[in-house]
C-alpha cells in the first residue's frame, strides 16, 4: 500500500476531482492526504483521508494570500491576455512560492510515496523534484487551454517559460527543464475526443470524469418530482461571486413563468423572491440531480461540463473568462451545445437557445456520443490503476537502485 499526497490550489473546481480519486484510493487501502493553502471543511474530505492546512508556515503570507484570492474577482472583467497574466504571474507562481515551506515540512514528516500535484499547483511537483519523490499531475481542464503558444505566440511562450524558470531558480532548481508538472504521469479528466487532442504525449492519460467525492447537500426532491416541465440545471460554479446577481437576473427575465423548471445552484439570498418555476439552493447534490435534468446552463466550469456530458445532456455555455472560451469551442466542435458569450448575452437569444437545445435532438445525440468517450476513458478505476502501477514501478526503481 502507498501514501499519496495531493497538493491542491485554493479553488474548489480543481480540488474536486482529487477528492473523488482520493476516495477510490482510500477504498483500495492506500493512505491519502491533501495539502492546500486555505482551510477546507472536513465534510468534503473522503472518510479515512485528511486535509492538511499548514497554518503556522503560512502565517507570514496571510495578507499576500488574501490579496491573491481577492484578485480572482477581477477575472471576469479581464481580457484574454490580462487573464493569462493574472493566472500565471499573479496567482499560480506566488501560490507555489507561498506553499513551499509548509509543504516541505509536511512531506519530510509524513514521507509520502507519491506526490500528486494539481496542474496549477506548481509547488507539488517542484518539491517532489527537489526531494526526489515520484510525482504525478492531475489536470481537471482540457490541456492546451492557452493554445499552442510555443508555435503560435513565441513571445508569450517565452514569458511563461521565464516565469516558471525563475520560480524554480528561487528554490535552487537550475537548468532548462520545467519541473512544475510530472513528465511521467499526468491524469486528465476528460476524453481526448472531447479535448480535440489526437496524439497525446504518452504521459498524458485521459481518464475521463471521476466521481464519488462526498457531497451531503440536502435537496427538496419532492418539489422536483412535482415539476412537469423540462428541467434545466443552472450552475455558476464556486468562483465569480460578483456577477451572480446579474447572471441570474437575466435568467429570471428570460424564464420567469416559462414552461421550464430552473434548478439553480446559487445562494438564494441574492434575490428576495424567485419565480415559482425556479428551485434555488446554495449547495446541491449535483451528481444525483444531473440524471433528472433535461439540459444544463453553465459558464464552463469543468466539473459541471463533465457532469453534464456524463449524463448525455445538451448544454448552453455562457463563457465569462479564464478557460471557459476554450471549453465553449470544444462544445461547439462536438455539437453537444450552444455557446453565447456572457458579455453578449441577450434575453431573446437565451430563450431561443434553451428551447432549441430542448427541442432539437441533434444536441442531445452529440452529448450522448461524448458520454461514450467519457465512459471509455475509464474514470476512477482507470485513474487508480494508473496511480497504483506508477507507485509500484517507482518503488521497484528505488529497491533496484
Amino acid at each position: 500500500m502507498s501514501k499519496f499526497l495531493f497538493v491542491v490550489p485554493p479553488f474548489f473546481g480543481h480540488i474536486s476531482p482529487t477528492l473523488s480519486i482520493g476516495a477510490s484510493l482510500i477504498a483500495r487501502g492506500h493512505e491519502v492526504k491533501w495539502l492546500g493553502v486555505i482551510p477546507v471543511d472536513a465534510k468534503h474530505i473522503p472518510e479515512g483521508g485528511a486535509y492538511i492546512y499548514p497554518e503556522a508556515d503560512l502565517a507570514e503570507y496571510r495578507e499576500e494570500l488574501q490579496q491573491i484570492l481577492k484578485r480572482q474577482d477581477d477575472g471576469p472583467a479581464c481580457s484574454g491576455p490580462e487573464v493569462m497574466k493574472l493566472a500565471l504571474e499573479e496567482t499560480y507562481v506566488p501560490i507555489a512560492r507561498i506553499m513551499m515551506k509548509g509543504l516541505g515540512r509536511f512531506v519530510d514528516t509524513w514521507q509520502p510515496d507519491v506526490i500528486v500535484n494539481d496542474c496549477i499547483t506548481f509547488a507539488g511537483a517542484l518539491l517532489a523534484h527537489i526531494r526526489g519523490i515520484p510525482s504525478v499531475t492531475t489536470t481537471p481542464v482540457p490541456p492546451d487551454v492557452m493554445g499552442d503558444t510555443a508555435n503560435s505566440a513565441p513571445k508569450i511562450f517565452e514569458w511563461q517559460e521565464n516565469l516558471v524558470k525563475s520560480l524554480q531558480r528561487e528554490f535552487k532548481v537550475y537548468g532548462d527543464d520545467i519541473v512544475i508538472h510530472s513528465r511521467k504521469l499526468n491524469l486528465v479528466f476528460t476524453s481526448p475526443e472531447f479535448a480535440g487532442i489526437e496524439n497525446p504525449e504518452p504521459h498524458m492519460k485521459f481518464v475521463g470524469p471521476v466521481k464519488g467525492r462526498p457531497n451531503h447537500a440536502a435537496f427538496d426532491w419532492a418539489r422536483l418530482e412535482r415539476a412537469t416541465t423540462p428541467k434545466v440545471f443552472v450552475s455558476l460554479g464556486t468562483l465569480l461571486v460578483d456577477i451572480r446577481a446579474a447572471f441570474f437576473q437575466k435568467l429570471i427575465d428570460a424564464f420567469a413563468d416559462a414552461p421550464v423548471t430552473i434548478v439553480a445552484a446559487t445562494n438564494p439570498d441574492i434575490f428576495e423572491k424567485w419565480p415559482d418555476n425556479f428551485i434555488v439552493n446554495g449547495f446541491v447534490p449535483q451528481a444525483e440531480l444531473m440524471p433528472m435534468m433535461d439540459m444544463v446552463i453553465c459558464h464552463g466550469g469543468f466539473n459541471t461540463v463533465n457532469d453534464t456530458f456524463m449524463n448525455g445532456l445538451p448544454m448552453l455555455i455562457t463563457p465569462i473568462a479564464y478557460d471557459h472560451f476554450h471549453t465553449a469551442k470544444l462544445i461547439e466542435n462536438a455539437g453537444c451545445g450552444i455557446k453565447i458569450r456572457y458579455k453578449r448575452l441577450r434575453i431573446e437569444d437565451l430563450k431561443n437557445a434553451v428551447f432549441e437545445l430542448l427541442e432539437n435532438p441533434q444536441y442531445r445525440n452529440a452529448a450522448l456520443r461524448i458520454k461514450e468517450t467519457f465512459i471509455a476513458a475509464g474514470g476512477n478505476d482507470k485513474a487508480v490503476q494508473l496511480l497504483e502501477e506508477f507507485a509500484a514501478a517507482e518503488q521497484e526503481l528505488v529497491t533496484f537502485n
Binding site: G80, K85, P154, I156, F325, K343, R346
Partner: protein, 99 residues
C-alpha cells in the same frame, strides 16, 4: 463580400471606418451601439473582444486585403503587454503601412 481593387490605397480614416464595420459585423450592432469606438479603443479591454471574435476579425481583414497583410502573423509576434495595449489606431497604422 468586399473585394480589393489593388490600385486604390485607403487612407487612415477609410481604414478606421472599415475596421469599425468589421468590428460591428463581428460583435453585433447592438453591442457596438453601447460603446464609443475611437482610434484609442483598446481591442481586448474596451471592445471586449474574445479570442474567437479576434479570429473572425482577422479573417475579415484577410478576405478584404488578401496576402498583402499578414495580420495574424503580426499579432502572434506580440508579447502580452503589446496585446493588452493594442488599440485600433495601431492596427490602422499597421494596415496603412502594409498597403
Amino acid at each position: 463580400m468586399d473585394t480589393l481593387d489593388s490600385t486604390t490605397k485607403l487612407n487612415s480614416s477609410e481604414i478606421f471606418d472599415l475596421m469599425k464595420q468589421f468590428i460591428t459585423e463581428v460583435i453585433g450592432e447592438e453591442f457596438v451601439e453601447e460603446m464609443e469606438i475611437t482610434m484609442e479603443s483598446s481591442f481586448t479591454k474596451d471592445l471586449e473582444m474574445d479570442s474567437i471574435e479576434i479570429v473572425s476579425f482577422s479573417e475579415k481583414i484577410k478576405t478584404h486585403f488578401g496576402e498583402q497583410i499578414d495580420f495574424t502573423g503580426w499579432l502572434s509576434n506580440m508579447d502580452l503587454d503589446e496585446l493588452i495595449n493594442l488599440n485600433l489606431g495601431t492596427i490602422v497604422n499597421y494596415i496603412e503601412e502594409c498597403q
